[in-house]
């Protein structure tokens, strides 16, 4: 949404028409066009096998694009070997060299660049203090915890001041608490150093927390490239709506296109809903409606919630500040609603029929699943 408007000098990496196949039959990456801006934190998000890691490896130089061009700072890097690209990289399993001390590990990029011993030692210590590990310089990687090892890997990728740092699921091996802590730490490092980061993950929470922009990959193509807010609030297609956060999907058919970008959709049970037309263009098209659980109201709605349906309560789960209701609505038995806690408000009983309401703006008419109805 925002990338095409940026001036060309601001673009650090440009993928144009990049395709990649390993076996000559199936394309792992199909026609990738992507501009990465200087200083931004861009995440490639997608399920495994969606082509995000392959794209990262092509940028790092470990895979060769079958077709198309990758430019780094305006120059094609087709014939530049990995060690001359000046790109720092952090791997999922850290890849710290086990036979070297922490300091030697961090100083390695400086050593291969011919910096003398004293200078590179000082610089390595400086980088280690940046990740708050200056006291552990003498240890070996095996003596460090997973989180510490990952910070060393970060320091090592940043110590030679690359213009671009790639991270391939760097937090995948850490437990949840440490992972959340490291997300914030990496984000702070990115902000204070101003370095460009391309980050690969399959964890959408991680992507939403850290990124300036997220490219959602599926089956070798980018389904949507947007800010975290844009992806969550305005998913452009059913895949993104389903992949990012929780979503309720209802199948239907467009009956009529209305003004102000709205449309009228007939559901499977014959009821009608007014929705924002996102990628439907004409009456008669099949569509999928998408609603966030927190945007749907049960028995507690105002005049703006123009869409009203009837649901049967299947399950209620108490979460303290809210209660999750699982309802059967218009043929979807997994329709989820987040009901905010209110004093003196009775919880619906299982089996009860309740009214479900939502605004037209909060209901997005997206593409219907094509051939793959899985």
């Amino acid at each position: 949404m925002t990338d095409s408007a940026a001036p060309a000098s601001d673009v650090l990496v440009r993928f144009s028409g990049v395709r990649k196949t390993y076996d000559g039959e199936t394309l792992v990456v199909k026609d990738l066009n992507l501009d990465i801006h200087r200083g931004e934190f861009l995440t490639l998000l997608g399920p495994s096998g969606s082509g995000k890691t392959t794209s990262l490896m092509m940028l790092a130089g470990f895979e060769v694009p079958t077709d198309g061009e990758i430019e780094l700072a305006g120059r094609s890097i087709r014939n530049v070997p990995p060690h001359q690209r000046g790109i720092g990289m952090v791997f999922q399993n850290y890849a710290l060299f086990p036979h070297m001390t922490i300091e030697e590990n961090v100083a390695f990029p400086l050593m291969v660049r011919g910096m003398d011993r004293g200078a590179r030692s000082a610089k390595a210590r400086e980088a280690l203090s940046m990740v708050k590990l200056e006291d552990l310089w003498r240890r070996r990687p095996g003596q460090l915890s997973g989180g510490q090892q990952q910070r060393v890997a970060l320091a090592r990728a940043l110590v030679f001041e690359p213009q671009l740092v790639l991270m391939d699921e760097p937090l995948g091996a850490l437990d949840k608490q440490l992972r959340e802590h490291m997300q914030i730490e990496i984000k702070h490092l990115h902000q204070s150093l101003g370095v460009t980061v391309v980050y690969v993950t399959h964890d959408q929470t991680e992507a939403l927390t850290m990124s300036d922009r997220i490219a959602v990959f599926d089956d070798g193509v980018i389904r949507q490239l947007d800010t975290p807010h844009g992806l969550y609030e305005e998913p452009q297609n059913a895949f993104v709506a389903d992949f990012i956060g929780e979503n309720n999907m209802l199948a239907g058919t467009v009956e009529e296109m209305l003004e102000n970008g709205l449309c009228r959709v007939a559901l499977a049970d014959g009821r009608h809903v007014t929705a924002r037309a996102v990628n439907v263009t004409a009456a008669g098209q099949p569509t999928r409606l998408s609603m966030r659980p927190e945007k749907v109201h049960v028995e507690d709605y105002g005049p703006q919630h123009v869409n009203r349906l009837i649901g049967t309560v299947k399950e209620t789960i108490y979460h303290g500040d809210h209660t999750r209701l699982r309802l059967a609505v218009a043929g979807n038995p997994e329709f989820t609603v987040k009901m905010r806690f209110r004093p003196n408000r009775p919880r619906p009983e299982v089996g009860e029929r309740v009214a479900v309401a939502f605004a037209a703006e909060d209901c997005r008419a997206l593409d219907a699943p094509a051939e793959d109805e899985s």
Partner: protein, 407 residues
């Protein structure tokens, strides 16, 4: 509480003991086998290297009397001469003289003829045995002759160990270097270690790239190549060595091919010399280098080299600074394995080497079976064992025992 605790503890102990007994039962057969077939023979061989009762078993009187000989620069006194004369006559009668003669012959030049001529010339009785014995053979007037008897009197002797290191003791107990025409074993020992080291280095140079290929190939092709590496194990060592004779002999495959190609005019000498020994031993020992290297390389994820490349290391730098150091445990294990096997090699050098290419095992076998000098054979074995252990200790200090990884 305590009444209840005690039976609980006792039960625990009994349960633990049962487990230990079971575990011991599982390893007991192997332990027994190792004890009988490995530890006991080695220990008894080591004993033989320093244990010497050959002379005292046939000449009991003189070996008992000779410790009274104090001034080694002079002759022993009459009692010792008398004991010698008595022993010689007794053993001559019992036909055990040759045992004594053989033992003295290890230490004395022409010791054998000395003993027999003395026995023949010795009178039945004598006024003074000192004169009679010296009259029978004048060499008894030399204290060095008596020194040999003294050194052979047992039961513990350093004679064989010294001999294995080309050293002698004089009558007065000084250790001297053997004369050059008798010195042999230090050269053999040196040759053994040089050949062992060279074969190890050749195996490393040839095996490292193969192991690298094996570890980086996709599994299906890797397995095929692995079978090729292991193929030699399916043939007997003797057959493989004999095959090298066929390949390398004067009119063998290599020479004929080279002549046919016009590279050489006359056949080269490729066998019954060092070339043959190196070629055959390297071929036989190569898998022992490749396998430990392969197992170590297989465990090194490719991300290390990738990380090094992304951090700015050229391919050669990444390989030498990141990959090779991580394969050191494999190099150490393969190297130690090949080296220790190489210095113990016997049959291959015996078949494809020349007279001057025999390793120490050949001499151990020779003294064990041909000349029945078990003392010297054991002493050579002990020297080989000691040298190996010293080298291993040095290696251990440099690399550390944790630096060895066999699988």
């Amino acid at each position: 509480m305590s009444e209840q605790n005690h039976p609980l503890k006792a039960r625990l102990r009994r349960a633990e003991r049962m487990r230990q007994v079971k575990a011991f039962g599982l390893i007991a057969p192997l332990l027994g086998f190792l004890l009988i077939s490995f530890v006991v023979p080695i220990a008894s061989m080591m004993m033989r290297a320093v244990h010497d009762t050959e002379l005292s078993s046939v000449w009991p009187e003189v070996t008992a009397a000779i410790p009274s000989w104090r001034d080694r620069k002079a002759l022993p006194d009459e009692a010792v001469f008398a004991a010698l004369a008595h022993d010689i006559k007794a053993s001559h009668k019992d036909r055990t003289l040759s045992t004594a003669a053989r033992r003295l012959n290890y230490d004395l030049r022409n010791g054998r003829s000395l003993v027999f001529s003395t026995a023949r010339a010795l009178p039945e009785t004598a006024e003074r045995w000192t004169d009679a014995v010296i009259a029978a053979n004048g060499r008894w007037a030399d204290p060095e002759t008596w020194g040999a008897v003294y050194r052979a009197s047992g039961p513990v002797t350093g004679f064989f160990l010294l001999a294995a290191l080309d050293r002698n003791r004089t009558a007065t107990g000084r250790i001297v270097v053997a004369p050059p025409d008798e010195a042999l074993f230090l050269d053999v020992l040196k040759r053994t270690f040089v050949v062992g080291l060279a074969v190890t280095l050749i195996c490393l140079a040839l095996g490292y790239p193969v192991a690298y290929l094996l570890a980086t190939l996709p599994p299906d092709r890797g397995n095929l190549l692995m079978i090729l590496v292991l193929l030699p194990f399916w043939t007997s060592l003797l057959v493989r060595t004999a095959a090298w004779v066929v390949v390398l002999q004067e009119h063998g495959l290599v020479n004929n091919a080279l002549i046919w190609l016009g590279i050489i005019e006359k056949p080269m000498r490729l066998i019954y010399n060092q070339v043959g020994v190196y070629v055959a031993m390297t071929h036989i020992l190569l898998p022992f280098m490749i396998l430990p290297l392969y197992s170590v390389m297989k465990a090194i994820p490719p991300t290390y080299v990738r990380a090094a490349r992304s951090l700015g290391a050229a391919p050669a730098t990444a390989f030498l600074r990141i990959y090779v150091p991580q394969t050191l445990p494999g190099i150490g294990a393969g190297g130690i394995l090949v080296f220790i096997m190489a210095i113990g090699y016997y049959i291959t050098p015996a078949l494809v080497g020349g007279a001057g290419d025999q390793l120490i095992s050949y001499f151990i076998a020779y003294y064990t079976s041909s000349s029945v000098n078990w003392g010297l054979a054991s002493a050579l074995g002990a020297v080989l064992l000691a040298a190996t252990m010293i080298l291993y200790a040095v290696y251990n200090r440099l690399v550390g025992a944790g630096g060895i990884k066999l699988g």
